[in-house]
Amino acid sequence: MQHYNMNLTLKVWRQRSNKVKGHFESFQVKNISSEMSFLEMFDVLNEQLVAEGKDPIAFDHDCREGICGMCSMYINGRAHGPWTQNTTCQLHMREYKDGDTIVVEPWRAESFPVIRDLVVDRSAFDRIIGAGGYVSVNTGNAVDANSLPIEKQKADEAFAAASCIGCGACVAACPNASAMLFVSAKIAHLALLPQGEPERKNRAVNMIQQMDTEGFGSCTNIGACEAECPKGISLENIARLNREYVGAIFSGSNNG
């Protein structure tokens, strides 16, 4: 693979806190290697800003290997940028060429208030999980793991749903800022497994109730969430969520 260097213009959202209004600010970065990751390009920019005595751009990131779900940039109108099934930290600069302009914004959703610049508060997701995204089994009560055989196909499907990293790209991509893909992935993961069966109905009802309380929008079957999901979480999960929810309501969950 041929490596090259490039100069870029970046238009980045700046917002000192959620109490003040934000704006775009333009920056020039030079000699960016095509081998860098997108976040390493931001590291270069931030080093430059520190050297100039300016405030670096705040952005969330941690593992930089596409699994922690912390990075969250909206790049040229796409959550996590142009590559499919990819997180921002795994986007590499060989995608861009010399002279390009790149616009970078935070996730935009009322339920994800901006903390600073590109950093948003996604704690709503934790509260949705707390509303029912678990199996109520206390430590020390488990039976032998192989006493409960699970059909491989079901286990694989459950794994596929469980591979959600909770980054919030689905919400950011959705014009309604709906969290249905995130919620459905957890509901599907646990509904597909026998361990999730006893709490299946309450789980669906309670998680959806919490999702609404947090102020996420409704699903209108646009499909942007699936297209932008870095882990390829399928829309089929939303169909399953709807079945679970309707089933729970009509057959009577404790709360429904």
């Binding site: 693979m1 806190s17 081998e35 860098m36 990751s37 390493e40 590291d43 080093e47 800003l49 520190v50 050297a51 300016k54 405030d55 670096p56 705040a58 941690d62 930089r64 290997e65 699994i67 922690c68 779900g69 912390m70 099934q85 990819n86 590499h92 600073r116 950093v119 508060d121 996604r122 704690s123 934790d126 999980i129 707390g130 995204g133 678990y134 199996v135 109520s136 089994v137 206390n138 430590t139 020390g140 009560n141 488990a142 793991a145 409960l148 055989p149 699970i150 491989k152 694989d156 459950a158 794994f159 469980a162 591979s163 990293i165 909770g166 993961h189 646990l190 497994l193 361990q195 999730g196």
Partner: protein
Amino acid sequence: MALDSKIPAGKMDEKWGKYKSTCKLVNPANKRQLEIIVVGTGLAGASAAASLGEMGYKVKAFCFQDSPRRAHSIAAQGGINAAKNYQNDGDSTYRLFYDTIKGGDYRAREGNVHRLAEVSTNIIDQCVAQGVPFAREYGGLLSNRSFGGTQVQRTFYAAGQTGQQLLIGAYQALERQVALGNVTMYARHEMLDVVKIDGKARGIIARNLVNGELERHFGHAVLLCTGGYGNVFYLSTNAMGSNVTAAWKAHRKGAFFGNPCFTQIHPTCIPVSGDHQSKLTLMSESLRNDGRIWVPKKQGDNRKPGDIPEEERDYYLERRYPAFGNLVPRDVASRAAKERCDAGYGVGSSKMAVYLDFAAAIERYGKIEANKQGKSNLDKDSVIALGKDVVKEKYGNLFDMYAKITGENPYEVPMRIYPAVHYTMGGLWVDYELMTTVPNLYALGEANFSDHGANRLGASALMQGLADGYFVIPYTLGNNLADDIRTKSIPTDHPAFIAAEKEVSDRINKLMSIKGKESVESFHKRLGKIMWDKCGMGRNAEGLKQAIKEIQQLRKDFWSNVRIPGEVNEFNPELDKAGRVADFLELGELMCIDALDREESCGGHFREEYQTEEGEALRDDEKFMYVSAWEFKGDSQYELHKEELKYEIVHPSARSYK
């Protein structure tokens, strides 16, 4: 101070059972009055916080990330060991215990390791009950694979995302307790000091990273589950935020640091591509189940890998270690890669890489698949296509990650890999109950030193984190707190809290007042280079002495010339990082002091002066069969305490994988 490991008396396989049956208990009404602080929400922290919340303790959990689910356990790829013997291949608690002791090059404590092996099976049961979707066979039972340093298949896995699935399981259990009100979660908070009252840990000072405010939190006990310190090397497979700060503050407050120089360099990582590199990415050890490692037999061979015929390739691990082949432990595999590259046989543009090749596995799996489908006369391309599908199912996410980072297709060309810092066996010294030398201060998971000796076996970190959190601390904490039930919550206007907060605040203000010219990042890089060059895969007395001087100088430079933008009372990641790098600058020196003191080679600690003629690590059991536990005595002053290691069951011998 004499170190007491508090290993229970009795036969090795009865110690833990006896401990559990006879330890003191806290009744439910009293548990509700006892407050526990858990710092860190990775596998150890999340499992501990959830379990203690379930038991009725009042728990406060802290993490610096935006959600407990982000903790770096999430990135563990390959798997988790457990002595289930589901494969009927001769595994047992004893074998897991033995493999771990041997893998650690006889520098771990037998009692702790045996307990770890005993509870390993409970972990799998617990995780399956939570709905962790482990890989399964067609019959519906759990699947296993092999990892380095073992000859059985005892590793449970969920594709290349085992850490993620286990952490999500623990995180869900934790969020359930948060919703029930048993655990209060403080995300985007960083612990900046331990508060000690009457010699016991009774709380922490934490900084709210969103608004920069300092907070005082009381706890009857404090649990540090804050992971390892591999980022002292700047480049490592750790997450960007992984740091030693919590453990280091505890060390400065009296917790001894155990074996700080024991660092694990993982053999299979994507090589460094340039100065811009911010972190290194691991390619799971599970890949060595099927990948073959090789370099050209000719020095400086610039041909493409596909153009180098079979007989001109040196599968050096298979050549040197026929019994374990590509599945030798990590320390051995890493040194062997370095040896080949240093000798001029490296590949790629930097020549600091070796090949990890899947061509043979793809063909082998393709043939098996063709036979399964009854297509014995399939042409080679079709066989290869079938084989690629099998490999994709096993390692697909890892291959994708490799392709994204390097721009190369690992299904077609061999991966290029090189060793990188991955894990730290060293950590806070703890006794059998996981308590540090500060009463009521505990360390769990990678943050402690206890179970892996001088080298950790693959798929054992997840095991240890969950063992400590789910199955050990719920017993050992109660045994101690049973004597503390009359201690009322101490108000945080106690002078000890005020003094600790002032100390933290003064340090932050001092950092901000320097207003120098060099960025935090730049200091961190300079420290990393010293550590990697002189306290990395190979170490010698001269280099370590130089490193100590260089680090002391670098620390001076840092405290006179670091530039931190922004304000204290706002979201300021540069300030957060400055505090962490300041602590790494102290830890790095201690690591070099420890490495200098240990005049032998063992596990990941390779002192170039101490090796066999064949270049293998040369241990010195006469002089160094002890845990080095360092006491902080003031800046650059550390006193060594030794915990002698006594082997009752396993007889230490030269560690051979040949």
